[in-house]
């Protein structure tokens, strides 16, 4: 069964420093991979996706993610964190040609300190 894992419950980083939020996936075929962000009492906002092609994907708000097939990872990155980036981040996977289900990781809370 397809799944994603986010090994860190929380990531703390100082404003202006680079940030990384980790995600690994497990699927039988080639995956569609996503990152979503959630602010308190809000729905999920789409940040970026990997479908195929270039392994470095750029998304909203200066975020990017690197797809690594050999390590089955799709880590979210940003060169310089902002306090306003503090939120809950979810990695998700959809199986290509599958049932259209979107399966989420357990989430990582990002805390950016001034």
């Amino acid at each position: 069964a397809q799944s994603v894992a986010q090994p860190e419950d929380q990531v703390n980083v100082a404003e202006g420093n680079p940030l990384t939020v980790k995600c690994t996936y497990s699927v039988s075929g080639n995956p569609y991979l996503f990152w979503y962000v959630q602010y308190p009492n809000r729905g999920l906002q789409f940040l970026l996706k990997y479908i195929t092609g270039d392994n470095l994907v750029k998304g909203s708000y200066g975020f990017e993610a690197e797809f690594n097939k050999s390590q089955t990872s799709f880590h979210l990155k940003k060169p310089s964190a902002l306090v306003s980036d503090s939120a809950l981040y979810f990695c998700a996977v959809r199986d290509k040609g599958g049932t259209d289900k979107l399966i989420f990781g357990t989430g990582t809370r990002l805390q950016v300190f001034p």
């Binding site: 009492n41 729905g43 789409f46 259209d100």
Partner: protein, 112 residues
């Protein structure tokens, strides 16, 4: 703007009293999803519609039902809410063969 709209944003219901949450979309997407999310956990898929075809997850309790009268609207009915059903309920849409899903703002359900 095209979007996914959930009403209400906050819903309080009594233990055992049926409650309905609604979702509408202007994206004309044929796939609609309902997720349950408890206290900052991962959203858990309850069911989804592929057009009018209903797909229930195996572990979704019978207490949860859904209706989709047309492309634009989808409803989540909780027949007899228990305290454990208090959660954020998220509606999402995607196009057939589409890539990302688009989420509404969610409805936070409180059971008293």
């Amino acid at each position: 703007d095209a979007m996914v709209i959930q009403n209400p944003r906050y819903q309080v219901t009594q233990f055992g009293k049926p409650v309905t949450l609604s979702c509408s979309q202007t994206l004309n997407h044929n796939v609609m999803y309902w997720y349950q999310q408890k206290s900052s956990q991962a959203p858990k898929l309850l069911f989804h519609y592929y057009d009018k075809d209903f797909n229930n997850e195996a572990d979704t309790p019978d207490n949860f039902q859904s209706r989709r009268p047309n492309t634009s609207f989808c409803f989540l009915d909780i027949r007899s809410p228990g305290l454990g059903d208090a959660a954020m309920y998220l509606c999402a849409t995607s196009s057939q063969g589409g890539i990302e899903a688009f989420f509404g703002q969610g409805t936070r359900l409180t059971v008293v």
